[in-house]
Symmetry: C2
DNA sequence: GCAAAAGTGTTCTAGGTACACCCATGT
DNA sequence: ACATGGGTGTACCTAGAACACTTTTGC
C-alpha cells in the first residue's frame, strides 16, 4: 500500500542533455568542449550540456544548451542515444540524452557561459581527457556521423551556403578519414541532382576559379531512393 | 544564489522505459501490448514499460520490465530513442527511453503482471489505439527493424535455434513486407558463411525435408565488412 | 503418379572502381 | 612559361536482379 506512494518520489531522476557539436577547421573535424567551472572535475573538459527543464522537450533542451554556448540557432541536431549507467556521474544518478550537431565553421561564435570557464574547439583525434562517459559519447557520435554521411546529406551542414565541389569532397574525406577519387566523387554527386549551381565562382589562389554550388533542399535528406552515396 | 539550489529538485523528472517487443506468429509480425489496469486510460492498450529505478541502468530497466512481462531473460534488446515532449503524459512530465526487442516465438510465455490487466500479441498492422505516443514509438521501432535487417543478423533472433532457409526467408519477407527470390536469397545467405548446417532435417508435410541450420555467432553481428544483406 | 515444398545456375544489367590529361588563372 | 588546383570520360569488374526446372517425400 504504502510502497506505491513511497516509490513515486524516489523514482524521479536528474536528466541532462549533452551535445557533441562538430565543425571543420583547418582540414580537421573538431568538437566543441567546455572547461568546467565548478566541481566535480573543476577545470576538466566536458561536452556542453545541462539539465532538461520540466517545461521543455528534451530536443528543445539540447537546442537551448547549444544556443547558450554558440549563439547559433539553426544547426542540424540529431538525437544520438541515452546513457543511463547509474554511476556515470559520481554525485548522483544522472541520465543523459546525447545529441550530435553539425555547424558550418563560418557561423560559429563562441560565447562563454556563466557555469563554464571556457569553451574551445578540439580536433576529434586529439581530445583532452573528458569527464564522466563523455569520451564514449563522442566516439559514438563520430561513428554515427560516419555512417550517416553515406546515405544522407548531413555533410552540407558543415559547409557555408555556397561551396565548391572540392570543398564538399574535403568534408567527406575528413569525416571518413580516407581519400576519395575526384572524378568518381563529382560524377556521383552531380548525378544525384541535389546540387544547384549558384552561378558564381570562387578563387583562392592562382588557379582556375571553382564553380560554386548550393544545396537547395531545406534540410537533410535521406538518399535511400535517390541513390546511396556510400563508400565511393 | 538561491536559484541554483531551488532549481535542483525542480529538475528531477520521471523517467520510464517502454519496450516494443516483436515476434512472429502466423506469418505476421506481432507486438506485445499490455492492457492498462489503472488510470489514466484504464483499459487502453500500451507498450510494456515502467519507471527506471535509481539503482539500475536504463538498459537494465528495460530488461527487467521485459522479464516481468514475458518471463524471458535473454532477448535481443536495443535502445531506440528517447521521447521527451513535455505533454506526452497528461499526468505529469515523463521522459521515456524506448527500446525494441526481438524474441523467438517458441520462447514466449506471457505472465500477467500486477499493474496490468492483460498482455496480448497484436499484428503490427492491426494495432488497437495506443496510449500516449506509443503508436509513434511502434512505428519508429518498425522502421529501425526494417533498416537493421539489411545489414545485421537481427532476424535470427526471431527464429528458434535451428531453422530452415525457407523459414529464414519468410522472416525477411514478413519484416520487409515484400517477396524475395528464393535462389538469390539462398545464394546470398550461404555465401555470407555465417550459417552452419545443423545436421538434421525438418519435415512439415508430404514434401522433401528441409535442411536445418544454426547461427553459431553468439549475438547479432553487423555485416558491413562481410557483405551487406540489403534489398536482395 | 501427383501434390507440395526443397533445392539448384546462368544471364543480364547497373553501378562502383580505377585511372590521366587538359583548362583557367596569377605571377 | 609555369605552377596550382579545377574540371572531365572510359574501360573493367563485381554484385544485384531476373528467371525455371529437378528432387524428395507422403499419400
Amino acid at each position: 500500500m504504502q510502497r506505491a506512494t513511497v516509490n513515486f518520489p524516489i523514482n524521479r531522476q536528474a536528466v541532462t542533455v549533452d551535445v557533441v557539436l562538430f565543425t571543420i577547421q583547418e582540414d580537421r573535424l573538431h568538437v566543441l568542449l567546455i572547461q568546467r567551472k565548478h566541481p566535480p572535475f573543476k577545470g576538466a573538459w566536458a561536452l556542453p550540456g545541462g539539465f532538461v527543464r520540466r517545461d521543455e522537450s528534451v530536443d528543445d533542451a539540447a537546442l537551448r544548451e547549444l544556443q547558450e554556448e554558440t549563439n547559433v540557432r539553426s544547426v542540424y541536431l540529431e538525437q544520438l542515444a541515452t546513457f543511463g549507467e547509474p554511476d556515470r556521474d559520481p554525485r548522483e544518478r544522472v541520465i543523459t540524452v546525447a545529441y550530435y550537431a553539425l555547424i558550418n565553421w563560418e557561423r560559429v561564435q563562441l560565447k562563454a557561459r556563466t557555469d563554464a570557464a571556457a569553451a574551445a574547439w578540439f580536433p576529434v583525434k586529439q581530445l583532452p581527457p573528458l569527464v564522466f562517459d563523455h569520451k564514449q559519447i563522442v566516439a559514438y557520435a563520430l561513428e554515427r556521423l560516419r555512417h550517416k554521411v553515406n546515405y544522407t546529406t548531413v555533410c552540407f551542414q558543415l559547409l557555408p551556403k555556397q561551396f565548391t565541389l572540392t570543398e564538399l569532397q574535403r568534408v567527406y574525406e575528413i569525416i571518413l578519414d580516407q581519400q576519395l577519387d575526384k572524378r568518381n566523387f563529382r560524377k556521383k554527386m552531380l548525378q544525384l541532382k541535389i546540387l544547384k549551381a549558384a552561378g558564381g565562382f570562387k578563387q583562392e589562389g592562382p588557379q582556375r576559379p571553382a564553380r560554386l554550388y548550393t544545396f537547395p533542399e531545406p534540410k537533410v535528406i535521406t538518399l535511400q531512393e535517390k541513390g546511396i552515396l556510400v563508400p565511393f
